[in-house]
Protein backbone atom coordinates (compact mmCIF):
# COMPACT_ATOMS: atom_id res chain seq x y z
CA UNK A 1 0.00 0.00 0.00
CA UNK A 2 1.34 3.43 -0.95
CA UNK A 3 2.31 5.79 1.86
CA UNK A 4 1.41 8.77 -0.33
CA UNK A 5 -1.80 10.70 0.30
CA UNK A 6 -4.53 9.78 -2.22
CA UNK A 7 -4.52 13.34 -3.57
CA UNK A 8 -0.82 13.06 -4.44
CA UNK A 9 -1.31 9.58 -5.93
CA UNK A 10 -3.96 11.13 -8.15
CA UNK A 11 -1.55 13.77 -9.46
CA UNK A 12 1.00 11.23 -10.70
CA UNK A 13 0.99 11.01 -14.50
CA UNK A 14 -1.68 13.70 -14.85
CA UNK A 15 -1.33 16.77 -17.09
CA UNK A 16 -1.78 19.75 -14.75
CA UNK A 17 -1.61 23.53 -14.89
CA UNK A 18 -1.77 23.80 -18.68
CA UNK A 19 -1.25 27.44 -19.47
CA UNK A 20 -0.17 29.90 -22.12
CA UNK A 21 2.74 32.25 -21.52
CA UNK A 22 1.80 35.73 -20.26
CA UNK A 23 3.75 37.36 -23.07
CA UNK A 24 5.43 36.61 -26.39
CA UNK A 25 9.02 35.46 -26.54
CA UNK A 26 10.96 38.69 -26.81
CA UNK A 27 14.38 39.89 -27.85
CA UNK A 28 15.12 41.98 -24.74
CA UNK A 29 15.16 38.99 -22.44
CA UNK A 30 17.29 37.09 -24.95
CA UNK A 31 19.93 39.83 -24.82
CA UNK A 32 19.71 40.04 -21.01
CA UNK A 33 20.17 36.30 -20.62
CA UNK A 34 23.11 36.21 -23.04
CA UNK A 35 24.63 39.14 -21.19
CA UNK A 36 24.19 37.42 -17.81
CA UNK A 37 26.33 34.49 -18.93
CA UNK A 38 28.54 36.47 -21.32
CA UNK A 39 27.32 34.38 -24.26
CA UNK A 40 28.65 35.99 -27.44
CA UNK A 41 27.21 33.41 -29.84
CA UNK A 42 26.49 35.51 -32.97
CA UNK A 43 23.18 33.75 -33.70
CA UNK A 44 21.81 35.69 -30.70
CA UNK A 45 23.44 39.04 -31.44
CA UNK A 46 23.86 39.36 -35.23
CA UNK A 47 20.75 39.30 -37.38
CA UNK A 48 22.59 38.39 -40.59
CA UNK A 49 24.25 35.40 -38.93
CA UNK A 50 20.91 34.38 -37.40
CA UNK A 51 19.26 34.57 -40.81
CA UNK A 52 21.98 32.39 -42.34
CA UNK A 53 22.24 29.75 -39.62
CA UNK A 54 18.92 29.60 -37.80
CA UNK A 55 16.52 31.10 -40.38
CA UNK A 56 16.13 34.20 -38.23
CA UNK A 57 16.56 35.14 -34.57
CA UNK A 58 16.02 32.48 -31.95
CA UNK A 59 16.20 32.30 -28.15
CA UNK A 60 18.95 30.27 -26.47
CA UNK A 61 17.32 26.86 -25.92
CA UNK A 62 18.18 26.88 -22.21
CA UNK A 63 15.85 29.88 -21.78
CA UNK A 64 12.79 27.69 -22.23
CA UNK A 65 11.42 28.12 -18.71
CA UNK A 66 11.94 31.89 -18.75
CA UNK A 67 8.82 32.44 -20.85
CA UNK A 68 6.58 31.03 -18.13
CA UNK A 69 7.89 32.60 -14.99
CA UNK A 70 5.04 34.85 -13.89
CA UNK A 71 5.38 38.51 -13.02
CA UNK A 72 5.94 38.98 -9.30
CA UNK A 73 2.91 41.30 -9.27
CA UNK A 74 0.08 41.77 -11.72
CA UNK A 75 -3.19 43.71 -11.47
CA UNK A 76 -6.20 41.81 -10.13
CA UNK A 77 -4.10 38.90 -8.97
CA UNK A 78 -5.06 37.90 -5.43
CA UNK A 79 -2.47 35.19 -4.90
CA UNK A 80 1.16 35.15 -5.90
CA UNK A 81 1.54 32.98 -9.00
CA UNK A 82 4.24 30.35 -8.76
CA UNK A 83 6.24 28.77 -11.56
CA UNK A 84 6.44 24.98 -11.28
CA UNK A 85 3.24 24.97 -9.22
CA UNK A 86 3.30 21.18 -8.74
CA UNK A 87 6.55 21.60 -6.81
CA UNK A 88 4.91 24.13 -4.49
CA UNK A 89 1.79 21.95 -4.14
CA UNK A 90 4.02 19.13 -2.91
CA UNK A 91 5.83 21.41 -0.45
CA UNK A 92 2.48 22.47 0.94
CA UNK A 93 0.80 19.08 1.17
CA UNK A 94 3.82 17.53 2.90
CA UNK A 95 4.42 20.65 5.05
CA UNK A 96 8.01 20.99 3.82
CA UNK A 97 8.95 24.68 4.00
CA UNK A 98 12.28 24.50 2.17
CA UNK A 99 13.22 22.97 -1.16
CA UNK A 100 16.09 22.65 -3.59
CA UNK A 101 16.35 21.26 -7.11
CA UNK A 102 18.95 18.53 -7.38
CA UNK A 103 18.66 17.21 -10.97
CA UNK A 104 17.55 18.91 -14.13
CA UNK A 105 17.34 17.49 -17.65
CA UNK A 106 16.22 19.65 -20.55
CA UNK A 107 15.54 18.26 -24.02
CA UNK A 108 15.16 20.72 -26.86
CA UNK A 109 12.87 20.56 -29.90
CA UNK A 110 11.97 23.20 -32.46
CA UNK A 111 13.80 26.50 -31.93
CA UNK A 112 11.92 29.17 -29.96
CA UNK A 113 11.74 32.52 -31.73
CA UNK A 114 10.86 36.09 -30.79
CA UNK A 115 7.11 36.48 -31.24
CA UNK A 116 6.30 32.89 -30.33
CA UNK A 117 3.66 32.35 -27.65
CA UNK A 118 4.33 29.06 -25.88
CA UNK A 119 2.08 26.71 -23.94
CA UNK A 120 3.14 24.47 -21.10
CA UNK A 121 1.87 21.87 -18.63
CA UNK A 122 3.34 19.94 -15.73
CA UNK A 123 3.28 16.22 -14.96
CA UNK A 124 4.28 14.74 -11.59
CA UNK A 125 6.17 11.50 -12.27
CA UNK A 126 7.01 10.18 -8.80
CA UNK A 127 7.43 11.04 -5.11
CA UNK A 128 9.79 9.25 -2.73
CA UNK A 129 9.20 8.15 0.81
CA UNK A 130 10.60 10.32 3.59
CA UNK A 131 14.40 10.68 3.44
CA UNK A 132 17.08 12.16 5.64
CA UNK A 133 19.81 14.29 4.03
CA UNK A 134 22.32 16.82 5.30
CA UNK A 135 19.75 19.56 4.58
CA UNK A 136 17.05 18.00 6.73
CA UNK A 137 14.16 15.54 6.49
CA UNK A 138 12.01 15.50 3.38
CA UNK A 139 11.04 13.89 0.09
CA UNK A 140 12.34 13.80 -3.48
CA UNK A 141 9.99 14.25 -6.41
CA UNK A 142 10.27 14.18 -10.23
CA UNK A 143 8.30 16.66 -12.34
CA UNK A 144 8.21 17.01 -16.15
CA UNK A 145 7.36 20.33 -17.74
CA UNK A 146 6.37 20.13 -21.42
CA UNK A 147 6.45 23.07 -23.82
CA UNK A 148 4.87 23.59 -27.26
CA UNK A 149 4.65 26.64 -29.53
CA UNK A 150 1.56 28.30 -30.99
CA UNK A 151 1.56 25.78 -33.85
CA UNK A 152 1.54 22.85 -31.41
CA UNK A 153 5.13 21.94 -32.24
CA UNK A 154 7.09 20.48 -29.36
CA UNK A 155 9.85 22.87 -28.31
CA UNK A 156 11.17 21.18 -25.18
CA UNK A 157 10.76 19.19 -21.99
CA UNK A 158 12.27 19.96 -18.61
CA UNK A 159 12.54 17.16 -16.07
CA UNK A 160 13.24 18.27 -12.50
CA UNK A 161 14.11 16.36 -9.37
CA UNK A 162 13.25 18.45 -6.34
CA UNK A 163 13.88 17.84 -2.67
CA UNK A 164 11.42 19.40 -0.25
CA UNK A 165 12.58 19.38 3.36
CA UNK A 166 12.34 20.77 6.85
CA UNK A 167 15.52 21.64 8.64
CA UNK A 168 16.27 19.38 11.57
CA UNK A 169 16.30 21.26 14.86
Amino acid sequence: MSELPAEVEGWIGQKRYETEGEFDVEQGYIFTTCSSVENGNPIYWDEKTANEITDGPIAPPAMISVWFRPHLWAPNRTEQAMPLQVHFDLKEIFALPEAVMSDNTVTFGEPVRPGDRLRTWQVLRKVSGEKQTKLGTGRFWDIDVEYVNQRGEWVGTESYTGYGYRRDS
Binding site: S36, V37, P61, M63, S102
Partner: protein, 163 residues
Protein backbone atom coordinates in the same frame (compact mmCIF):
# COMPACT_ATOMS: atom_id res chain seq x y z
CA UNK B 1 30.56 38.07 -39.65
CA UNK B 2 32.84 35.06 -40.01
CA UNK B 3 31.90 32.20 -37.72
CA UNK B 4 33.72 29.16 -36.46
CA UNK B 5 32.49 25.79 -37.74
CA UNK B 6 33.44 22.73 -35.73
CA UNK B 7 32.59 19.57 -37.66
CA UNK B 8 32.27 15.97 -36.43
CA UNK B 9 35.47 14.84 -38.11
CA UNK B 10 37.42 17.36 -36.02
CA UNK B 11 36.30 15.83 -32.72
CA UNK B 12 37.50 12.69 -30.99
CA UNK B 13 36.32 11.00 -27.82
CA UNK B 14 38.59 11.82 -24.91
CA UNK B 15 39.52 15.30 -26.00
CA UNK B 16 39.05 18.17 -23.58
CA UNK B 17 37.01 21.31 -24.04
CA UNK B 18 38.83 24.59 -23.33
CA UNK B 19 38.52 25.63 -19.69
CA UNK B 20 36.25 28.58 -18.83
CA UNK B 21 36.77 30.57 -15.65
CA UNK B 22 34.52 33.29 -14.20
CA UNK B 23 34.68 35.19 -10.92
CA UNK B 24 31.23 35.23 -9.30
CA UNK B 25 29.97 38.44 -7.72
CA UNK B 26 26.58 39.20 -6.19
CA UNK B 27 25.76 40.87 -9.51
CA UNK B 28 26.48 37.61 -11.36
CA UNK B 29 23.94 35.80 -9.19
CA UNK B 30 21.30 38.54 -9.15
CA UNK B 31 21.58 39.35 -12.87
CA UNK B 32 21.26 35.63 -13.68
CA UNK B 33 18.16 35.30 -11.51
CA UNK B 34 16.53 38.41 -12.93
CA UNK B 35 17.39 37.44 -16.54
CA UNK B 36 15.59 34.15 -15.95
CA UNK B 37 12.69 35.92 -14.19
CA UNK B 38 13.39 34.07 -10.96
CA UNK B 39 12.25 36.37 -8.15
CA UNK B 40 12.77 33.89 -5.30
CA UNK B 41 14.61 35.63 -2.45
CA UNK B 42 17.40 33.09 -1.98
CA UNK B 43 18.87 34.42 -5.24
CA UNK B 44 19.03 38.08 -4.15
CA UNK B 45 18.39 38.35 -0.39
CA UNK B 46 21.36 37.45 1.81
CA UNK B 47 19.32 37.41 5.02
CA UNK B 48 16.69 35.11 3.54
CA UNK B 49 19.28 32.74 2.03
CA UNK B 50 21.29 32.42 5.22
CA UNK B 51 18.38 32.24 7.66
CA UNK B 52 15.79 30.29 5.66
CA UNK B 53 17.93 28.12 3.42
CA UNK B 54 20.75 27.69 5.90
CA UNK B 55 23.44 28.46 3.33
CA UNK B 56 26.35 30.89 3.44
CA UNK B 57 25.06 33.46 0.93
CA UNK B 58 22.70 34.01 -2.00
CA UNK B 59 23.32 31.40 -4.68
CA UNK B 60 23.01 30.96 -8.45
CA UNK B 61 19.63 29.71 -9.67
CA UNK B 62 19.02 26.60 -11.79
CA UNK B 63 17.91 28.23 -15.08
CA UNK B 64 20.96 30.50 -15.09
CA UNK B 65 23.24 27.53 -14.44
CA UNK B 66 21.71 25.90 -17.51
CA UNK B 67 22.46 29.05 -19.50
CA UNK B 68 26.10 28.95 -18.32
CA UNK B 69 26.48 25.33 -19.40
CA UNK B 70 24.85 26.04 -22.75
CA UNK B 71 27.21 28.96 -23.31
CA UNK B 72 30.20 26.78 -22.34
CA UNK B 73 29.28 24.06 -24.85
CA UNK B 74 28.47 26.39 -27.73
CA UNK B 75 31.64 28.42 -27.13
CA UNK B 76 33.35 25.19 -28.09
CA UNK B 77 31.14 24.11 -31.01
CA UNK B 78 30.57 27.54 -32.50
CA UNK B 79 27.14 28.77 -33.61
CA UNK B 80 26.29 25.70 -35.69
CA UNK B 81 26.23 23.60 -32.52
CA UNK B 82 22.62 22.84 -31.52
CA UNK B 83 21.88 21.49 -28.07
CA UNK B 84 19.87 18.27 -28.02
CA UNK B 85 19.68 17.83 -24.29
CA UNK B 86 21.49 18.84 -21.18
CA UNK B 87 21.33 17.02 -17.86
CA UNK B 88 22.86 18.32 -14.70
CA UNK B 89 23.06 17.42 -11.05
CA UNK B 90 23.65 20.13 -8.50
CA UNK B 91 25.78 18.85 -5.67
CA UNK B 92 26.38 22.21 -4.06
CA UNK B 93 25.62 25.85 -4.74
CA UNK B 94 27.59 28.61 -6.47
CA UNK B 95 28.11 31.62 -4.19
CA UNK B 96 29.44 35.16 -4.68
CA UNK B 97 33.15 35.50 -3.98
CA UNK B 98 33.96 32.20 -5.63
CA UNK B 99 35.53 31.48 -9.02
CA UNK B 100 33.57 29.18 -11.31
CA UNK B 101 35.70 26.89 -13.46
CA UNK B 102 34.06 24.87 -16.23
CA UNK B 103 35.79 21.85 -17.72
CA UNK B 104 34.58 19.23 -20.17
CA UNK B 105 35.51 16.06 -22.00
CA UNK B 106 34.09 14.55 -25.18
CA UNK B 107 32.77 11.10 -24.32
CA UNK B 108 31.45 10.10 -27.74
CA UNK B 109 30.83 11.14 -31.33
CA UNK B 110 28.09 9.42 -33.33
CA UNK B 111 25.65 9.83 -36.19
CA UNK B 112 21.97 9.01 -35.70
CA UNK B 113 19.67 7.19 -38.12
CA UNK B 114 18.65 10.43 -39.86
CA UNK B 115 22.26 11.46 -40.47
CA UNK B 116 22.62 14.02 -37.70
CA UNK B 117 26.11 14.08 -36.11
CA UNK B 118 26.28 14.33 -32.33
CA UNK B 119 28.90 14.86 -29.67
CA UNK B 120 28.32 13.87 -26.07
CA UNK B 121 30.26 15.70 -23.43
CA UNK B 122 30.73 15.36 -19.69
CA UNK B 123 31.08 18.70 -17.96
CA UNK B 124 32.07 19.73 -14.48
CA UNK B 125 31.62 23.02 -12.70
CA UNK B 126 33.99 23.64 -9.81
CA UNK B 127 33.22 26.73 -7.73
CA UNK B 128 35.18 27.80 -4.69
CA UNK B 129 37.26 24.65 -5.11
CA UNK B 130 34.17 22.40 -4.74
CA UNK B 131 32.58 20.38 -7.53
CA UNK B 132 29.15 22.02 -7.44
CA UNK B 133 27.57 20.67 -10.61
CA UNK B 134 28.19 17.73 -12.92
CA UNK B 135 26.58 17.73 -16.31
CA UNK B 136 26.14 15.66 -19.44
CA UNK B 137 25.10 17.20 -22.72
CA UNK B 138 24.39 16.03 -26.25
CA UNK B 139 24.99 18.57 -28.95
CA UNK B 140 24.41 18.27 -32.68
CA UNK B 141 27.29 19.46 -34.82
CA UNK B 142 27.73 19.67 -38.58
CA UNK B 143 28.73 16.31 -40.04
CA UNK B 144 30.83 18.22 -42.60
CA UNK B 145 31.37 21.72 -43.95
CA UNK B 146 28.02 22.93 -45.31
CA UNK B 147 25.89 20.80 -42.97
CA UNK B 148 23.72 22.67 -40.46
CA UNK B 149 21.86 20.94 -37.59
CA UNK B 150 19.62 24.00 -37.15
CA UNK B 151 17.95 23.22 -40.48
CA UNK B 152 16.60 19.93 -39.11
CA UNK B 153 12.86 19.88 -38.42
CA UNK B 154 10.27 17.34 -37.36
CA UNK B 155 11.37 13.72 -37.74
CA UNK B 156 14.87 14.80 -38.81
CA UNK B 157 15.54 16.11 -35.29
CA UNK B 158 15.92 13.35 -32.68
CA UNK B 159 17.46 14.87 -29.57
CA UNK B 160 16.18 12.16 -27.21
CA UNK B 161 18.43 9.47 -28.62
CA UNK B 162 21.71 8.84 -26.84
CA UNK B 163 24.77 6.84 -27.69
Amino acid sequence: MSVQTLTADQITAGESLPELSKDVSPVTVVLGAMASRDWRPQHHDYKFATENNGVQDIFMNTPNLAAWFERYVTDWTGPYGRMGWIRFRMKDSVFPGETMVFNGTVTGVDTDDVGCAWAEVELELVSGGRTTTVCTARVAIPAHEGDNPWKRRGDDWKPEASS
